[in-house]
């Protein structure tokens, strides 16, 4: 059994050498401000390692800079078809739609947001990760109230917060789930729960400016602040680096 594991490990380690080289080359191209050259290299790395969050993260950054959203959507469509069990590939497929939203018209934004949700759900079905639950939950909050999606967001974000609470080490990035859950409570007309959630978040992550900003506001001022944060015309931060940079 131990030998089998060793063999498997060796096999896995041999492939990374190739896709790591492609990723390194892609990063060199990015450093040389040559995103066009970087894109196929990132794609090559991801084809070999579809669940690699870091590869996808850098790829999508280059996609945002070049506005090659449709290329990326097409790429992830093929990648997830070839690797239907790759939970983080599905997650990044969803992010690619989210990344395109600020550059789209108001109705296309709705279609993109819905496509993103579909892919986030695929990711969660495969693997209930904190990042996927937080992402889908937060995405639901961007939908106008009339569509009744905020309660779905609250459910996801409660699960994400529960997962984060259970972690021995509270990564800084987890604060986002407290912020979003509070927003979800606020959006579903539970202001006291919202404030309690933000307060709990501030205890766990002292000095967080977003939590402080919410707790410093009330009434219409708070409403305006939250709606401003959830404006679909503003780019959503889909940078995943904080997950591994701590």
């Amino acid at each position: 059994m131990k030998r089998l594991r060793t063999l498997l490990l060796l096999a896995v380690c041999a492939a990374p050498a190739l896709h790591a080289a492609a990723f390194d080359d892609a990063m060199k191209a990015v450093s040389a401000h040559n995103d066009a050259a970087a894109l196929p290299l990132f794609e090559s790395a991801l084809t070999a390692d579809p669940d690699n969050l870091q590869y996808s993260n850098e790829y999508r950054k280059a996609v945002i800079r070049t506005k090659e959203y449709d290329r990326a959507i097409d790429f992830y469509g093929k990648l997830t078809a070839a690797h239907p069990q790759a939970a983080f590939a599905w997650l990044n497929y969803g992010y690619t739609y989210v990344d395109k939203i600020p550059d789209a018209g108001s109705i296309t934004q709705v279609i993109l947001a819905n496509n993103a949700l579909t892919n986030f759900t695929k990711s969660i079905d495969l693997k209930k990760s904190w990042i996927a639950l937080y992402t889908r939950g937060n995405s639901y909050l961007y939908w106008p109230k009339i569509f009744g999606r905020a309660p779905l967001g609250v459910a996801d974000l409660e699960a994400a917060v529960a997962m984060a609470r259970a972690e021995a080490k509270k990564k800084k990035v987890y604060v986002r789930s407290w912020i979003a859950l509070g927003d979800g409570y606020w959006k579903t007309e539970q202001p006291e729960k919202a404030k309690a959630t933000w307060r709990e978040g501030l205890q766990l992550f002292p000095g967080d400016p977003q939590l402080q900003a919410r707790l410093a506001r009330d009434g219409e001022e708070l409403e305006k602040y939250i709606y401003d944060q959830l404006d679909p015309n503003k780019r959503v931060d889909t940078n995943l680096a904080p997950l591994w940079e701590e």
């Binding site: 789209a104 018209g105 108001s106 109705i107 296309t108 709705v110 279609i111 819905n114 106008p144 109230k145 009339i146 569509f147 009744g148 404006d231 679909p232 015309n233």
Partner: protein, 579 residues
């Protein structure tokens, strides 16, 4: 000390309660019924499978056109209806000579009630003096072929559409008259919403937009050059869309605006499109236009353009453009106030000026309602006010269906009795003169919640205060009489072209007074579903003297004139002020 404050506060409270509220600077009274100008509009009733959806998509045809058809000096009204067999309405203003602001319907005598035949839907109307005979003729734009009524001068009109060459089918929803080649004759630009298929007798279900943010399968525009021989009495137009460089625009046109945007003496164009792709065309001065959308506006937009109003709202000597879009709970487009930077570029200042949100916007017009020298803005909104049930969640299900074909009318869910962006309050923005506006529709008495469509501004009773006529889809129209007590001085100019087109459309007046400068251009129907008066109105505030007034006629000739304040003055090209 604290008690003293409390005592003072209590003592002051009753006094404050007794203080009369200061009168708002802008105030209107709704007098449509009293003045005989209240008219009920009916949208077209469709039959068959796609009836509900087509009815919804064609609910824009409640329009109004202001013009002095009988030449008695006051502005009359033509108001459209859209359902089969329903007559349009010509209302004669009785202010001159009776002194009373009242209208009399004279439609039948004039012979202009037609247009809503079984296969055509009236959608817009426009006064224009096509043969320069001093009598405004009337164009009725339709989902169908247009109707051109020649004004015979005896209170009667004659349908001359065929002889005039206006026989081309189009789903026309907007029409403007302007002299694009400065040849002294007003030309016609028609804005078409759907591609040219008859909606009442659908040859294909694929008639709706191919993209809801950047549609390219609409009706575009058609440009008609006026080739009427002077003195012939026979009006003739020929289509020059392709030649003029406008044929490649195939958006879902909802409104058209013209004006000299780059101060070169030639009339330029702004085309507002539903489902994105507004266009700005600059006039080359040789009978052609160039598409300057990219260089001037930064590219194609994705918004639902409804209105193209062109004025110099900040008195900097350059015409700006105001476009309404959709801003609602479910869609945050924001309007566009394209500030003209004077260097060929425009910057959208709608957010900065506070004019971004007029909900589901339709017509919006600038006018100096309080005569303070700054043009204010009235905007109507609201798509469909019906039951409490909301169509938006139903529509969402269709929109997010994978690979749905939006063009297929059968894919759109029926709206039934549901509301869609209904019961919306109108907006009136007072221009504060500092690149800022204050919304005050409620104070001004114009915050009705009808399903607004068109606006026409005119001083119907010659009192120097601009009145408002508002049309509404499937609802009664409104006439807002301006009763503002601001007491600002004013002048109004009726321009008559001689070498230029007789309506003087495109003429620009530049007025200097009180250390400031204002410009106004005569326009032929800018703004959605409404043609305002061709009289130029200037508010002067407390200023009691005009330093200078210059008229630049469309042919290029510049005349300096002296006019009295607080009066309507007629100026004839080459002759100055005339009685």
């Amino acid at each position: 000390m604290r008690r003293l404050w409390l005592v003072l506060l209590l003592a002051a409270a009753p006094l404050a309660a007794q203080q009369p509220k200061p009168a708002p600077p802008i105030r209107f009274e709704e007098i449509s019924e009293k003045a005989g100008a209240r008219l009920l509009h009916h949208t077209r009733t469709f039959h068959g499978k796609s009836a509900d959806v087509l009815g919804m998509f064609t609910s824009g045809g409640a329009s109004v056109a202001v013009g002095d058809f009988d030449g008695d000096g006051d502005d009359d009204l033509f108001v459209t209806d859209s359902d089969a067999g329903k007559p349009c309405h010509l209302l004669r203003n009785e202010f001159r000579p009776t002194g009373k602001l009242a209208f009399t319907e004279v439609t039948k005598e004039a012979g202009v009630e037609g247009g809503n035949d079984p296969k055509s839907i009236v959608a817009d109307a426009l006064w224009l003096d096509a043969d320069n005979d001093g009598r405004p003729d009337l164009l009725v734009a339709r989902f169908g072929t247009p109707i051109l009524y020649h004004n015979l001068g005896n209170g009667k009109f004659k349908d001359v559409s065929k002889e005039a060459g206006l026989t081309k089918f189009g789903n026309t929803i907007a029409a403007i008259a302007f002299d694009y080649d400065n040849d002294g004759r007003v030309d016609l630009l028609l804005g078409n919403y759907f591609p040219p298929v008859n909606l009442i007798d659908l040859p294909t279900p694929h008639v709706l937009p191919n993209n809801l943010d950047q549609a390219t399968n609409g009706g575009g525009v058609t440009l008609w050059r006026n080739v009427t021989e002077p003195g012939s009495g026979k009006i003739r137009f020929v289509e020059v869309t392709e030649k003029a460089g406008l044929a490649r625009h195939t958006g879902w046109t909802l409104d058209l605006g013209h004006g000299d945007l780059n101060n070169d003496g030639w009339q330029d164009l702004y085309i507002a499109d539903d489902y994105g792709t507004d266009r700005l065309f600059l006039n080359n001065g040789d009978g052609t236009f160039r598409d300057a959308t990219q260089s001037s506006l930064g590219g194609l937009d994705t918004k639902k353009g409804m209105n193209a109003e062109i004025v110099d709202y900040d008195n900097d000597g350059w015409l700006d453009v105001y476009v309404t879009n959709i801003t609602d709970e479910y869609m945050k487009e924001c309007n566009m106030l394209w500030h003209n930077n004077g260097d060929g570029t425009f910057t959208d200042l709608s957010k900065e000026t506070g004019t971004c949100n007029t909900l589901w916007g339709w017509a919006a017009k600038f006018g100096d309602f309080d005569d303070d020298g700054w043009q204010d803005l009235f905007a109507v909104d609201g798509l469909r006010s019906a039951s409490k049930e909301n169509y938006i969640p139903v529509l969402l299900e269709m929109i997010i269906t994978p690979n749905i074909d939006f063009t297929d009318v059968n894919n759109w869910p029926a709206i039934g009795k549901m509301s869609w962006s209904g019961y919306q309050r109108k907006k009136l923005f007072r221009n504060l003169g500092t690149q800022a506006f204050k919304e005050m529709a409620a104070e001004a008495g114009v915050d009705n919640d009808l399903d607004g469509r068109g606006i026409a501004l005119a001083d119907f009773d010659d009192d120097g205060r601009l009145d408002i006529y508002q049309t509404n889809a499937n609802q009664n129209s409104l006439l807002y009489h301006n009763v503002s007590a601001s007491g600002g001085h004013w002048i109004e100019l009726k321009l008559i072209g001689t070498k230029s087109n007789r309506d003087a459309i495109g003429a620009r007046a530049t007025l200097k007074a009180g250390g400031g400068q204002m410009i106004r251009e005569v326009n032929g129907g800018n703004g959605y579903a409404g043609q305002s008066t061709t009289r130029l109105h200037f508010g002067l505030g407390k200023t009691t003297a005009v330093d200078s007034l210059e008229i630049r006629w469309p042919g290029g000739k510049i005349e300096k004139v002296t006019v009295p304040i607080d009066k309507v003055t007629t100026i004839k090209e080459g002759a100055g002020v005339v009685p």
